[in-house]
Amino acid sequence: MPNVKTLVFIIDKPLHGDIRAQEFLDMAMMAAAFGQRVVVVFEGSGVYGLIKEQRADVLGLKNITPVLSALSVYDIHDILVEQESMLLKGVDESQLGIAVSVQSRSEIKQTIDSANHLFSF
């Protein structure tokens, strides 16, 4: 396939509370639809977004967790979570709602170094 780039999307904010995370994931899915290699990285407060059983409906918001589960449908299989952030935020792997790959900061740095473009919000 001509011109496949590696695009890394960094989520370092909680997923609910404003619209940006939802719009950000739209970008990632569009990139995958364009045949690009998409990697999604959760770090910092972004790891809170992975915790299962979120009740966004209480605030009248759309729950984004199903979107995360659907990323694989878009051929997005590289969903990385930074180990140090999980420790810092007190989030355990058993609390997570989707299948992810927990990696160290240095491993994630290698992925980021290999990216053609980085996105954040």
Partner: protein, 130 residues
């Protein structure tokens, strides 16, 4: 070098639009090509026709229109970000009964596909307001 730009923040409240505009000026002066400027999230407010800042302040919206007029830089506003925030394309405004002349001169409304096209075809993609 072929460079695409993404602006994620509203003008005036954030510096992103100003920094992006200065970045683009410098890039063009140094012989680079600006492939496209894509306005996303609250960045769509950069395209608000009826923005009226005090006369002794810079007019950010007008500055973008001038950049399009003089340098032909493609200014694209994300359709779903824009509709959510009430910035409607003329045809949509006519259809749903909204304001029809919301978009300033030189901007056009399109989907995320145009962002991806810019990202794929550019050597660099620079995001402001993130």
């Amino acid at each position: 070098m072929k460079i695409s730009i993404q602006i994620n923040a509203s003008p005036y409240q954030h510096q992103a639009s100003d920094t992006a505009w200065h970045f683009i000026q410098a890039a063009l002066q140094n012989g680079h090509e600006i492939y496209r400027v894509f306005f996303y999230h609250d960045g769509i407010y950069n395209a608000l026709r009826d923005s009226r800042p005090p006369s002794d302040e810079r007019n950010i919206v007008q500055r973008w229109s001038t950049l399009n007029e003089q340098m032909g830089v493609d200014l694209v506003v994300c359709v779903s970000s824009a509709q959510r925030r009430g910035l409607l394309e003329q045809s949509v405004g006519e259809k749903v009964g909204g304001y029809e002349r919301a978009l300033a001169d030189g901007f056009r409304i399109a989907g995320l596909g145009l962002l991806m096209e810019a990202v794929i075809d550019s050597d660099r993609h620079v995001t402001f307001g993130a």
